[in-house]
Amino acid sequence: EKIDEGDERYKDLKGNKGKPKKKDELKKELELLLKYTDMNHGPIGLSSARAAEILARDGPNALTPPKATPEIIKFLKQMVGGFSILLWVGALFSWVSFGIQLAQGIDSAFDNLYLGVVLALVVILTGIFAYYQEAKSTNIMASFSKMIPQQALVIRDAEKKEISAEQLVVGDIVEIKGGDRIPADIRLIFAQGCKVDNSSLTGESEPQSRSCDFTHENPLETKNIAFYSTTCLEGTATGIVINTGDRTVIGRIASLASGVGNEKTPIAIEIQHFVYMVAGVAISIGILFFIISVSMRYKILDSIIFLIGIIVANVPEGLLATVTVSLSLTAKRMAKKNCLVKNLEAVETLGSTSIICSDKTGTLTQNRMTVAHLWFDNQIFQADTSENQTTQTFDQSSQTWAALSKIVTLCNRAEFRPGQENVPIMKRIVGGDASETALLKFSEVILGDVMDVRSRNKKVAEIPFNSTNKYQLSIHETEDPNDKRFLLVMKGAPERILERCSTIMINGKEEPLDSEKAEAFQTAYMELGGLGERVLGFCHLYLPEDEFPDTYPFDTDSMNFPTSNLCFVGLLSMIDPPRSTVPDAVCKCRSAGIKVIMVTGDHPITAKAIAKSVGIISATSETVEDIAKRLNVPVEHVNRRDATAAVVNGMELKDMTLEQLDEILNNHSEIVFARTSPQQKLIIVEGCQRQNAVVAVTGDGVNDSPALKKADIGIAMGIAGSDAAKNAADMVLLDDNFASIVTGVEEGRLIFDNLKKTIAYTLTKNIAELCPFLIYIIASIPLPIGTITILFIDLGTDIIPSVALAYEKAESDIMNRKPRNKKKDRLVNQQLAVYSYLQIGIIQSIGAFLTYFTVYAEQGFLPNTLLGVRVNWENNYINDFEDSYGQEWTKYQRTYLQWSGYTAFFVSITIEQVADLIIRKTRRNSIFQQGLFRNKVIWVGIFSQIAIALILCYGLGSVTALNFTPLRVQYWFVAVPYAILIWVYDEFRKLLIRRYPGSWWDKNMYY
């Protein structure tokens, strides 16, 4: 099975799409054209009325945005997602028991009604919060993708009008000039020097010329069709609109992208795993104690109320909101580092990325041609290719260089756009093609004002570059007023230039071009070509004064001047150089265990050269071809496993089976895919995903959008990217820089670690909330903590501290470890749950119970008196309940004491959570290694925690519905020794983990 045919879905894109349409539709177009063209006065276009009619029929010329989930569905999803179901069940139980108790005429029935309402409110509020967070992050994107409305110059009612491109209809005649974006799919009826950039559609970055000629059956290939959203680079054209909106080629691809399903993000899977786990614990403990309480002869109704308590105690109500906040904080931080995250969960996905499939042009490279090497005087010189060069440092003393620089300067049609004197040279906008721009900037950097040099050497004749000659030539007067000779300068394909030369300049002297020197030229040419660089040859000739006097009429058509026996001066090679930050970033990826795969439409040699220079292919590794060359054996004889690197050509990829692709992805650590079409990118992505990798893909073109969608995290380019790509992506790189991805990865890994800490922190106190219920049921003591109070911990004191953990710095270099294994390195693993639940949680419970017993004992109820008192304690009619000293208590006095107990328990948990917060700062290092004060937000968290507890205790102590009472000051300190114990114990745990890596302790205690 060939990949090429493998996917019916993409066949559409590969060309056979428009074939049937061709004959019928073109005929129709022709009719249209004739109808709206006045043969004498040029096209008259549609009438406004007719255009309005068609607009009404076809709709506006815009891509339908991807189908969004209705807001209400999104909202409802938040209402039932996560723990919500569990809490709804709790609320339902509350209402049921309220109903039953009301029917029985029990006074306290309304407590259950309120509890149910509170639970429902909790679900609704956290739901609204999550919904709001999601909506907010979506809005960032919405504002981003809103572009300035495009204008189109259209001929209607025989008049030229500027209208919004959305108003275009089939049959409209539009005029396009260089720099415009094509407003719809159009067939050209007139074109002059028109070139378009179809890279967003086909991935080929070479400009393509457009004319009125029908050259190919395939609409994607034929020269007389220009496509919506591509750019016209130069020239002018007039065309008739043949397709608008979603019916354009781009529109069809975009709708294809929306068909590729969105996979669940790794963090979503982790959170789901965590929710299942906690829900599993809650439900099993709930059911277990339901059975226990029923068999202990509690009433069913009571047992149900216990069940509610157990559920509420077990569910970390605030945690999912906290996770959302932490993710959005990271998203904000990433946005500052030029990674705009569309989908919050993608923040972490980036961290677990194990393969990055990166584009070359623009992402790894600067996306501009730059002179990289020179060859003259039989020597190769290297030029500076960094982004903001101001000088060149190679040896410029030779006379040959003087001659070469003159040719480079003069034989060049490119010019800086005016008014950019203060802009750094490398950033100036230039009119001209990529190579000429490179040469212009190069000479401007070295020689200073190029335009001045050109004006001093007036141009008298010129033959522009064309593909048959493969050279460019111009003739200039010299700047030396005494030298009346004309200077002929020529540049072009090196072999063509050499053919026209009989001498070569060495150290400023013309020497005959013998075979030895020609050999040297060949070597240099091959070497530079082997670097993947575009090489140009330069030569000149001083025309003798006697043959070509001042007034000689140069005629470029008859070529009345010599174009052979010239003097060869040198070679210049250009490349789109890598961004200076990229090699470092790639190196970071490598140490972070992330495989970087380059996927480019460029030539394999160029691709490989860039891959080598940025480190995607490391200096020491070889491809199969390299080994074959070194050993001088045929490629087939090389053991494929010996080669760590591979350069795969798109043509080879086309003929590969899925297994072969898998084998390549598996066996080579350094892979470059060259000459690939954007469609093949999707196949590569799928291949990587078959290796169980989390794949990040960068892309900018419309055709990349299926791959971006398919990838675990699609990264669109913010500058060069098309809207479709940005729509399909999960993240937008604002500066198009690969290095930004790496900082994103770092943030993603950090947030994964920190979420672990947050969850460990949050889970711990659940045990301290749960134990009271269990002991209450089993030992029949007065209830130590109420359901409402638990909610105040979960949604009150604990929220800010758990968010604060998101600000924690990494413990060690997180970029030095492998990406996490999706299946093994869970967010919440057994160790984390067990350590939080069964160790720290239990210590916390004990501390809180000590406070509870202290409060009761000092009021007259010694611990032993409390055991087994539940039934009488809660009896409303017993108003002379005797304590350990013989004093008698009314029901309300007991209830008030019980609330004091709640408050004491609450305060103890809060105090111990402070210690819990501190120990969760690190998982392995000592707190003192991490620095107690480095993360200031933690302290904000601690203070907020205590402040909220103080407010609840003393501020709202008089509001009976909240069940808080003003607590005696000393009770705040009862649990402090346990808080210290928690800290000391955890330091001890970390110490053993550091001391004995791989030991039993490490395996069981490290989470």
């Binding site: 693993n829 057994q830 000092e858 007259g860 009314t890 395996k1003």
Partner: protein, 321 residues
């Protein structure tokens, strides 16, 4: 809690069968066409989940239960046993220290138990005293409750255990905290018609029930601050004429000062709370009559909204004739 099958703890055993199976699955996936892939994955999840669960519970190859071998279980259980033993010891020690700091005779704080609450006898599940004069079984539980409660007030018991005190002043016993304190006599006979001595049915057989009112005990509480606390009863919400006459015993309607302060059950062993008996001689019959009895005196609070037993009590008569 143990839901994570692929934990680090279990990592030690390489090539567990379910990993192998996964590999096989992977190969199959590659061999089958792309269209078939989703199908295979769906199948995998269904059969594999059961198999995985089984393996998780008991893996015969590695002899692991819930992902741990016997040795591993032994170690971890031993660890938790020691940990919890230490924690339990620590907790017990803390509780012990905490109890040591307490005064065994007087609670550290008495702010929550004061001011005193009020209770009545008879107490038979609730505060509705409903009976039918003609059916003795309907009022016998009340009478039994009264007799039971008053047994401690028998004149013989009181004379034997308690001393006679000087009425009208607090019986303050200074001296060592731990010294046993004497209690003042409160003879049942003081309650006269409600003593149950002459009328063992406390008037219930005649539709004129007696109710005993007692004030909750609070250590060191000097009720009334010099003036004895008195009691009065009236119909709560309703027709005042439903309650035509009440006799109080002792006639002063007060709790004498000599019964205060209370020193706690450990040193004030034979202390019996003073009582005020109320003989409801003329209550509207065959109807619910809610009655509120209040304490009045200095330091007595009887109008707190939340606590309807603080310094007052509400009970309802429904006497059938």
């Amino acid at each position: 809690m143990d839901m994570n099958a692929t934990s680090r703890g279990a990592e030690g055993q390489p090539g567990s069968p379910h990993q192998k199976r996964e590999n096989k699955q992977g190969q199959r996936m590659q061999n089958s066409g792309r269209e078939g892939r989703e199908e295979v994955m769906a199948k995998k999840t269904w059969t594999d989940v059961i198999q995985e669960m089984k393996n998780f519970l008991w893996d015969p190859e590695n002899r692991t239960c819930l992902g741990r071998t016997a040795k591993s279980w032994g170690l971890i259980l031993l660890f938790y046993f020691i940990l919890y033993l230490c924690l339990a010891g620590l907790f017990a020690f803390c509780i012990y220290i905490m109890v040591l700091t307490l005064n065994p005779y007087t609670p550290t704080y008495r702010d929550r138990v004061a001011p005193p609450g009020v209770m009545i006898r008879p107490y038979v599940r609730g505060f509705t005293i409903a009976f039918n004069v003609s059916e003795s079984s309907s009022w016998l539980p009340y009478v039994d409750s009264m007799h039971h409660f008053l047994a401690a007030y028998n004149d013989t018991v009181q004379v034997e255990k308690n001393i006679e005190c000087i009425a009208g002043q607090y019986f303050i016993q200074e001296g060592d905290e731990s010294k046993q304190k004497r209690a003042c006599q409160f003879k049942r006979s003081l309650l006269q018609n409600c003593s149950g001595i002459e009328d063992p049915t406390f008037g219930y057989s005649r539709g004129q029930p007696c109710i005993l009112l007692k004030m909750n005990r609070i250590i060191g509480y000097q009720a009334g601050a010099g003036t004895p606390v008195s009691v009065d009863c009236r119909v709560q919400k309703g027709n005042e004429s439903d309650l035509r006459s009440v006799d109080f015993y002792p006639q002063s309607r007060t709790f004498d000062l000599m019964y205060y302060p209370y020193y706690g059950k450990h040193i004030h062993v034979n202390y019996t709370s003073p009582l005020v008996a109320m003989h409801f001689t003329d209550v509207k019959k065959n109807d619910f009559v809610p009655i509120q009895c209040k304490l009045n005196g200095k330091g007595i609070v009887n109008d707190v909204h939340n606590d309807r037993f603080l310094g007052r009590i509400i009970f309802t008569f429904n006497i059938g004739m």
